[in-house]
């Protein structure tokens, strides 16, 4: 057994060896951390102690042309969680119950928006004050839960202006791609629709940053000495061309109908004075987390409140576009001012099909201006055949149909202006008949326009053929006092000579003033008014009712286009509706007191 006994000398050497191994191992450990990982670990140590706190800028407010509020900010409470202070089984569960969210939803939001474990992560915006009171009183039930004052957007919902205001929301990961990281980060509020989206970078301003030195427990020591904080730059305020009073008149006018849209513009510069899509939605619901049930309700609503009708509603324009056909005929020499076609006997026989006029009684023979007055279909059928599909389409296109108006709003629809090429593709070559041109000439069939396009076109008619690009923002007021006035831009000129324009304007006048005008009920003694009715056949139900109105006729300053879905004849529904909107504008301008009974009798009071 003694062979296992070691000599003292041997043991001493083993001892030294052990000491040296220890020294080498520990030194290598030090070298690894302090030399090889120095850069990484230094960076982590810096990250540890600096908390970058964004200073949120005030988002710009939006007013109408007279400075009345459309979008404002209001203070609200946002509830947040500091992830490092979460107590399992308490924080998330109790909070979920309090703010009516699922625990899983809270966890999802924590994961999505967390910047650091020690930084408050917003969970729900715009919580009611009572909830804040509970958080305050029973704070021990909610460890790690904090709340902050934050500004949220407040939309003047009464105006039903969501069609152009849009709304804001937290930026999604998709939206974040390719954006300037200095402006946008996870949890940022960004415009999702409408002006909020279009002018987001102008409205949002620029976040400032506070560099704060914190301890491990998140306790704030003070400002971080080596980096100076930057101030937030408030967003610019927008002044719109909108007239809130007119906007209200539009909203009220549509109130009794299911669905529709109104666009009011100033033909002299393309300013949009009012625009509404009915029914709308309340943009304020997006300030907070929308309950799933409400969201589903809005999305599945058969009246499509989320559809932005003025920009994205595609409708056949009906007779409202007869001006284009008549204008084209005059320009192309297919007709002259007083030339006539076969008389209207309530319809027109084309091949083996009888194309009806809207008036089964027939119109007899009419010249160009009276065709517009009475909206005779038979005249238009014969003119359309003479022009042909492509000529007609060429003029529709030259009048802005089938292309974007380039209004300063996102996601606008182009509409559809069919050509031979289109029909060949759709039905196959020679598989369609010239009957389609008959439909096209009266604004039916495949031709689809948006209410905004139609309004733009009527602006051109009212403004000697000069068409301005429709726009909403009149002025941008930056926080430093710099004001930028948005100059009106000419989009194009209508393809009509002055003689043609004169005849078309006569038609415009006759629709209201003429003996047989389809909208003669709008005639009143305070101001002159012109327009055009339209009844768009709708294969899915009742006809859509259109009217485009222009006032005052001698020097037009407002055009109003309205469509009321499934409401019947233009002359019966849309015309009086437009009349009431124009009336509210003109009365204000002329200083007429609406409550005066004589006015009601002589004017449009009963419409």
């Amino acid at each position: 057994m003694e062979r296992f006994k070691l000599s003292l000398e041997y043991r001493e050497k083993v001892g030294y060896l052990l000491v040296i191994v220890m020294l080498v191992v520990l030194s290598l450990g030090l070298f690894k951390l302090q030399i090889f990982q120095y850069r990484d670990l230094s960076e982590q140590s810096e990250k540890n102690r600096i908390r970058v706190e964004p200073i949120l800028p005030r988002r710009g407010i939006v007013t109408d042309r007279f400075g009345k509020i459309i979008i404002d900010n209001r203070p609200s409470y946002t509830v947040s969680i500091i992830p490092s202070e979460i107590v399992d089984g308490k924080t998330i569960e109790n909070l979920a119950e309090l703010i009516n969210l699922d625990s899983t939803q809270i966890v999802k939001r924590l994961k999505r928006n967390m910047i650091s474990r020690y930084q408050q992560t917003p969970i729900k915006r715009d919580i009611p004050f009572e909830t804040v009171a509970i958080l305050e009183e029973q704070s021990n039930r909610f460890p790690g839960v904090t709340y902050q004052m934050e500004r949220v957007r407040q939309y003047n919902h009464e105006l039903n202006a969501e069609t152009y205001t849009g709304y804001v929301g937290e930026i999604s990961e998709d939206e974040l791609k390719g954006r300037d990281p200095l402006l946008y980060h996870l949890g940022s509020i960004t415009g999702k629709k409408g002006l909020e989206k279009q002018y987001d970078e102008i409205l949002r301003g620029r976040e400032g940053t506070n560099y704060i030195e914190v301890t491990a427990s998140g306790q704030i020591i003070g400002e971080y000495p080596d980096k100076e904080s930057t101030e937030a730059i408030p967003g610019a305020n927008l002044v719109l061309s909108i007239d809130n009073e007119l906007q209200l008149a539009c909203t009220k006018a549509l109130d009794t109908f299911c669905c529709g849209a109104i666009v009011a513009m100033d033909p002299r510069n393309g300013e949009i004075l009012a625009m509404t899509s009915y029914p709308g939605y309340d943009a304020n619901i997006f300030s907070s987390v929308i309950p799933e049930s409400l969201w589903t309700e809005i999305r599945t609503d058969s009246t499509h409140p989320l559809l932005n009708r003025p920009l994205n509603g595609l409708y056949p324009p009906g007779s409202t576009v007869k001006f284009v056909g008549v204008g084209a005929g005059l320009e192309e020499g297919a007709v002259t001012e007083n030339s006539i076609f076969k008389p209207c006997i309530g319809g027109y026989q084309f091949g083996n099909r009888f194309f009806r006029c809207w008036d089964p009684g027939g119109h007899g023979t009419l010249n160009a201006a009276h065709t517009l007055e009475q909206s005779c279909d038979v005249y238009m059928y014969q003119l359309g055949l003479k022009l042909g599909i492509d000529k007609l389409a060429e003029y529709y296109a030259a009048c802005g149909f089938g292309s974007l108006t380039n209004v300063d709003l996102p996601r606008e629809a182009k509409g559809l202006n069919p050509t031979t090429e289109y029909y060949d593709e759709r039905y196959g070559k020679k598989k369609w008949t010239l009957g389609l041109v008959l439909n096209n000439s009266i604004g039916q069939g495949e031709l689809l326009v948006t209410p905004l396009q139609l309004a733009q076109f009527f602006c051109g008619l009212a403004n000697d053929g000069v068409v301005y690009q429709p726009h909403l923002v009149k002025k941008i007021n930056r926080f430093n006092g710099i004001e930028t006035e948005i100059q009106p831009k000419v989009a194009f000129n209508l393809p009509f000579s002055s003689n043609t324009m004169r005849i078309l304007r006569e038609g415009l006048m006759l629709v209201v003033e003429g003996e047989h005008g389809t909208a003669k009920r709008l005639k009143n003694e305070y101001y002159s008014i012109g327009g055009k009715t339209g009844t768009a056949e709708n294969p899915h139900g009742e006809n859509h009712s259109w009217f485009a109105g222009v006032a005052p006729l001698d020097n037009p300053e407002i055009i109003v286009v309205a469509i009321v879905e499934n409401a019947g004849h233009g002359s019966e529904v849309a015309a009086p509706l437009v009349g009431s909107v124009i009336q509210s504008y003109m009365y204000r301008k002329l200083g007429i007191d609406v409550s005066d009974s004589i006015v009601v009798e002589k004017g449009l009071g009963q419409l």
Binding site: V19, M22, L33, I35, N48, V214, A216
Partner: protein, 406 residues
Amino acid sequence: MNLKYSALDWKLILAALVLSFIGIMLIMSAQHNADTEYQRDYYLRQSLWLAVAFIIFAVIVHIPPKLFDMMAYVMYGISILLLVLVLFVGSAKMGASRWFSFGSMNFAPSDFAKVAVLFALSRFLAYTKLPVASKRRMAITAIITIIPVALILKQPDLGTSLVFLVLLFILWFWAGLSPIYLLLIVSPIFSLIAASHWLAWSIYIVVLLIFLFISKPGIIFGIAAVVTNLVSGIMTPIMWSRLADYQKLRILTFLDPGRDPRGAGYQIIQSKIAIGSGGVFGKGFLNGSQTRLDFLPEPHTDFIFSVLGEEFGLIGALFVLLLFTFIFYRSIKIASHCRSRFASLVVMGAAGIIMFQFLVNIGMTLGFMPVTGLPLPFVSYGGTSLVLFWALIGLIVSAEARWQEY
């Protein structure tokens, strides 16, 4: 007998003193920004404790080792009594009952037990006539060690109990036992680790058998080694599969703190960040952000070395490593030329205790040893710990001064 001061190992004393002063400085830095004045004054208390420790050191230097030799078993008995007592009347901190409290002072009987067990084992091994590898000799020394270990495990304090087992190993070795035996004794632990994969384990068992065949440690010992290895290797996977997930996680986290960056791993990660961000020259005294901003847990006790690494960098840390190495080197030298077998064993054991705590503590701060809660000798805050290590230095210096005595 007169003690000649010139015969004292002043270099060794100086090394321990420098370490103690560095400790006071680091404690000051660690608690520089603490919330309470009590915490900010830790370094003052540590200074007082250093004075106490130095007095005890001086007293021990003047006591002839013979006296400890005679008193060894009595002291051992007292230490066991104290360890039993602390379980009943000790004050609990963080769920462990380890201290007797006298006002603001705490006394950990396990520190006293380290010295007592050192004496008891040294005395037995110094005078026994049993051969080095005899079962009786091993059994008796094992029992002397196991009794306090069991009591300390009950506190519970795994780290400190390990110190006693390591002490036993070192004294076995220094008393002449071949490292082959030591390897075989710890081999079930290797078997346990290898058992995580059947192939690794099979290879390990083959290697073990070859090792046994070549080293021929004796039939009974050989069979015991094989049986314990087989049992620990086979039982482990079975036990493991029966553990609940959270228990598995706890064990895995102990072995690899990186698995749980929010819990146990947090300390290790922050310690590594502290040391690494110190770089070569450090961030400067009182300037460590990890330390100052509380990212470093227990910066004045368990993680004092991280404060050193952060504020004084590689240079400061290497300096401390070298001071320790010097102490170990001197101790081994002294243990080798002491004529008294008892004194030699005491010196080696004392150095062994310091070495083990040094290795485990710094290894933990560097991230390759589990978190055990063992303080760094001389440097970490703690009165009894400081007194203990100075007492151990006293024993080493005293033995050196009287090296000719038998």
